[in-house]
C-alpha cells in the first residue's frame, strides 16, 4: 500500500512530467486556455498515456525482448503511441460519443506530446511490472492534468498582464511555470519506503 502511494506521489510531485521533466509542454499557451480546455487536454493525455503504457509494455515484453530486437524500441514505441491514439479515438467514437466530441481534437494533439513517449521509455528503463506501469502512467497523466488546471486557475487569480511589456505573453507564463517548478524542487528524490 505504501509503495502504491509512494509511486503515485513520485509521479505527481517528484517527477512531474511538465514541471520537473519538462516534457509535454505543448499545450496551448494562448489567452483562451480556459478551465474546460485544461480538463480536456489533461484527461486526453491521461487516457493516451495509460493506453500507450500498456501497449508499449506488452510490445516490450512480448516482441522486443522475446525476439531480442531492442534496437527497434524507438520505432515500436512511436507506433504504439499512434496505435493507442487511434484505438482510443475509435473506442470513444463508438461507445462514448459525448466524450468523443469533447476530446477529439485533444486526442489528436497528444500524438505530438513527448510526455507520452517519455512515460513509455521511463517504464522500460525502470523495468516496471504491469500494475506499476499502469499506475505510473495514470499518476503521470494526473500530474499533467493537475498542472494544467492549476495554471489555468492561477491565470484568474494572478493576472499576467502586469509585467513589463517585454515579458507579456509567453515569457511570463514560462516564468510562472518556472516558479511552480521551484516549488516542486523539494520533492526531488522522494522515496517512500
Amino acid at each position: 500500500m505504501l509503495q502504491v502511494i509512494g509511486l503515485v506521489l513520485i509521479a505527481i510531485l517528484a517527477e512531474n512530467m511538465v514541471l520537473v521533466r519538462c516534457l509535454g509542454m505543448d499545450w496551448p499557451k494562448r489567452k483562451d486556455m480556459t478551465e474546460d480546455r485544461a480538463w480536456h487536454i489533461g484527461v486526453s493525455i491521461t487516457l493516451v498515456m495509460v493506453v500507450t503504457a500498456l501497449i508499449s509494455w506488452l510490445v516490450n515484453v512480448c516482441i522486443l525482448r522475446f525476439f531480442g530486437v531492442e534496437h527497434f524500441r524507438v520505432l515500436a514505441y512511436t507506433l504504439s503511441v499512434l496505435m493507442a491514439v487511434g484505438l482510443l479515438r475509435q473506442l470513444l467514437r463508438l461507445f462514448f460519443p459525448v466524450l468523443y466530441r469533447h476530446l477529439n481534437e485533444d486526442l489528436s494533439q497528444t500524438v505530438y506530446s513527448c510526455a507520452v513517449l517519455g512515460v513509455a521509455f521511463i517504464i522500460t528503463l525502470r523495468n516496471y511490472s504491469l500494475p506499476q506501469t499502469l499506475l505510473y502512467a495514470l499518476a503521470s497523466g494526473v500530474g499533467i492534468l493537475g498542472v494544467l488546471v492549476i495554471f489555468t486557475g492561477m491565470q484568474d487569480q494572478a493576472s499576467f498582464d502586469n509585467c513589463p511589456k517585454v515579458f507579456r505573453g509567453l515569457p511570463i507564463q514560462l516564468i510562472t511555470a518556472g516558479l511552480m517548478a521551484l516549488a516542486l524542487m523539494g520533492f526531488y528524490g522522494l522515496n517512500v519506503n
Partner: protein, 547 residues
C-alpha cells in the same frame, strides 16, 4: 463645517485605524524578538545580514517602480517584511551577496512582475530562499549556537542541526528549553521558537493574522508526528518536530502572508492542513531535511482552488446545500458519459450499392496506410541495417567498458562472467576470475541518493573485503553529491569489510556538503558486502536461467 457629506454617500464615516503600513509594522515588531535572539546566539553578523536584506529589498522595489514609472510603494513596508523574512531563513554564515540576490529575485520576479503587492501568487521571501538553495553549500553550513560569528570573515565550525538528526530518524540530544530558546544550530531567525511564538501571540492579539492557518498547520504536523513517530517516544518526536527547522517561522509568518493565502475561513483551514501534510511527507520521505518552505510554496499554487472550495455558506441557506448541488451536478454530467451501443447504419444512398461506402472508406484509408507502412518498413530496414553494421562495434565497446569497470572495481581479475545468483537487492552479481581462480564478486546495487537512485558496482573479494567501488548511474546534482562520486572518495572504501560505519572504526571520511550521497554510497557498499557474504553461506537464491 469642514466636510459635508450629502445624503448617504461614503458611509461609514468612522474607520478602523489599521492600514497596510501599520499591519506591516506589526509584523516587523513581531519578528524582532526572534531576530534579537538570533543576534545573541550567532553574533552581530545576524543584524548586518538582516539590514542588508531589508535595504536591498527596499532598494530593488524602488528601482523597479522608478524603471517602470509606477508610483513608489516602499512606504507600505511590505518590502521590509520580505527582506526581514528572507534574512531570517539564511544561516549566519551566508555571504553578504546572498540576501541581495534573493531579494532581487523575490521582489522583482516573484512580486513585481505579477503586479506588486496584493497580486503575486507565491510568497516572495520563500521563493527567494529557494533560489538561494540552489547554492546548497552556502545554505547548508550551519553553525552551532553561541558560536558568534564576526561581521567580516566567517570562521564556521559546521554542526548538525536538529533537523539533520530528525532526517535520519534520531532524536537530537537537546532538552525542551534548549529547543525553545534556540540553543542549537539552524537558520538565523528560525532557532528561537519561543520568541517566534511570542511574535505570533502578538500578531494574534493585534488581529493581524487569524488563528486558523498556524493552528491547523502546526496541529497537523504535531498530529502526524505523534501518530507516526520514528523512534520510541511519540511525544518527544512530535515536540522535536514542532520546534526544529523552519516550521515555526513558516507556520506563523510565511504561510499567513495575506496575498498568498486563502481569504475564506474554510479555505484557510484546508490550506493549513495541506501545508502540514506536505511538510510531514517531505520531512519523512524527501531528500531535503526540512520541507516547510517547499510545502508552503506548493500550497501557494493551489490557493485559488482553496478559495473556491471554501466559499462561505450563503446566509440563510442550509449548510452543505452548495456541496450537494455541486455533487449532483457533477454526477449528472458524468452520467451523460454513459456508454452507448454503436449502431450499424445501413443507409442506402441512391445510386450506390449497400456497403459501397464502406469500400470507399477502406480504399481511401488504404492509401494512407500504404504510405505509412512503406515509411515504417524503410525505417525498420534502416534501423536493422545500422544495428547489424554497428552491432559488432557496440559489442566490442561494451566489452571494453566492462573491462574498465573491472579494472576499477576488481583490479586483480581479468575475466568477468555473469553468475546465476540473484539476490533481492542486487541488480546483478558478476564473478571475477584470474586464470580460473575466483577472485571475488562484483555486486551491482541500487541505493537512494539525494536526487534519486544511484547505481553502483562494488567488488568484494573472497575474504569479504572491498576491492573497489564505482558509480555507474546517478541523478545527483554536480554541485551537491558530485564530489562523492569521484574516485578520490570512492577509493577510501578499498580494504574495508564487515559493516562500514559513518564514524569511528571502519569508517570513511564523508565529504561535507554531500553527506546524503556519502551515506548512500556507504549503504550500498554495506549491502554489497552483506550479499557477498551470504553467497558463500548459500542463502542467496539460485536461479537457473540464462547466464
Amino acid at each position: 463645517m469642514s466636510r459635508v457629506y450629502a445624503g448617504k454617500s461614503s458611509f461609514p464615516c468612522i474607520k478602523d485605524r489599521a492600514s497596510v503600513d501599520s499591519i506591516m509594522l506589526d509584523v516587523l515588531v513581531a519578528l524582532t524578538p526572534a531576530l534579537v535572539m538570533g543576534a545573541f546566539l550567532f553574533g552581530f553578523r545576524v543584524l548586518v545580514l538582516a539590514a542588508i536584506s531589508v535595504l536591498s529589498c527596499m532598494g530593488f522595489e524602488l528601482l523597479y517602480c522608478k524603471w517602470t514609472k509606477k508610483p513608489v510603494t516602499i512606504r507600505d513596508l511590505s518590502a521590509c517584511v520580505t527582506g526581514l523574512l528572507l534574512s531570517m531563513t539564511l544561516p549566519v554564515t551566508a555571504p553578504y551577496w546572498a540576501p541581495v540576490l534573493g531579494g532581487a529575485f523575490a521582489i522583482i520576479v516573484v512580486k513585481q512582475f505579477y503586479g506588486g503587492l496584493g497580486k503575486n501568487f507565491m510568497n516572495p521571501a520563500l521563493a527567494g530562499r529557494m533560489l538561494l538553495l540552489s547554492f546548497p553549500g552556502m545554505m547548508t553550513t550551519w553553525v552551532d549556537a553561541l558560536d558568534r560569528q564576526a561581521v567580516v570573515g566567517v570562521d564556521a565550525v559546521s554542526t548538525a542541526t536538529p533537523m539533520a538528526y530528525l532526517h535520519l530518524g534520531k532524536l537530537p540530544d537537546l532538552t525542551l528549553s534548549q529547543l525553545l530558546l534556540g540553543q542549537h544550530g539552524g537558520a538565523m531567525g528560525e532557532v528561537a521558537s519561543f520568541m517566534l511564538l511570542l511574535g505570533g501571540a502578538y500578531l494574534l492579539c493585534r488581529r493581524v493574522i487569524s488563528w486558523r492557518i498556524p493552528v491547523c498547520f502546526l496541529g497537523t504536523v504535531a498530529m502526524f508526528s505523534f501518530v507516526f513517530p520514528k523512534g520510541n517516544d511519540p511525544l518527544d518526536w512530535a515536540v522535536c518536530n514542532l520546534f526544529s527547522g523552519g516550521l515555526m517561522l513558516g507556520a506563523i509568518f510565511m504561510a499567513t502572508d495575506y496575498t498568498t493565502s486563502p481569504v475564506t475561513p474554510r479555505g484557510q483551514i484546508l490550506y493549513g492542513i495541506g501545508c502540514g501534510c506536505l511538510t510531514v511527507v517531505l520531512r519523512s520521505y524527501g531528500s531535503y531535511p526540512d520541507g516547510v518552505g517547499f510545502s508552503i510554496l506548493t500550497m501557494n499554487c493551489c490557493v485559488w482552488l482553496l478559495d473556491r472550495v471554501g466559499l462561505p455558506r450563503r446566509f440563510g441557506v442550509r449548510p452543505l446545500t452548495e456541496t450537494r448541488s455541486w455533487a449532483l451536478g457533477t454526477l449528472r454530467r458524468l452520467g451523460k458519459l454513459r456508454p452507448t451501443i454503436p449502431e450499424r447504419r445501413e443507409k442506402a444512398v441512391r445510386g450506390t450499392m449497400p456497403g459501397e461506402r464502406d469500400l470507399d472508406r477502406i480504399r481511401s484509408w488504404s492509401k494512407n496506410a500504404a504510405a505509412m507502412t512503406a515509411v515504417i518498413v524503410v525505417m525498420a530496414i534502416c534501423i536493422g541495417g545500422v544495428n547489424r553494421a554497428t552491432g559488432r562495434i557496440i559489442a566490442v565497446r561494451e566489452n571494453r567498458e566492462q573491462q574498465e569497470l573491472l579494472e576499477q572495481v576488481m583490479p586483480a581479475a581479468q575475466v568477468v562472467t555473469e553468475t546465476p545468483y540473484m539476490a533481492e537487492d542486487a541488480l546483478s552479481i558478476l564473478a571475477g576470475y584470474n586464470e580460473n581462480e575466483l577472485i571475488g564478486y562484483c555486486v551491482e546495487v541500487e541505493v537512494q541518493g539525494f536526487g534519486g537512485v544511484v547505481t553502483m558496482v562494488v567488488g568484494v573479494d573472497v575474504n569479504g573485503e572491498v576491492t573497489g567501488v564505482t558509480v555507474t548511474g546517478h541523478s545527483e546534482h554536480a554541485g551537491i553529491g558530485g564530489q562523492a562520486l569521484e574516485q578520490d572518495y570512492l577509493g577510501q572504501y578499498v580494504g574495508l569489510s564487515g559493516t562500514v560505519r559513518d564514524e569511528g572504526r571502519n569508517s570513511v571520511d564523508a565529504i561535507s556538503g554531500a553527506t546524503d550521497t556519502c551515506r548512500a554510497i556507504t549503504a550500498g557498499v554495506n549491502k554489497a558486502l552483506y550479499i557477498a557474504s551470504r553467497l558463500d553461506a548459500g542463502e542467496v537464491e539460485y536461479m537457473d536461467g540464462q547466464v
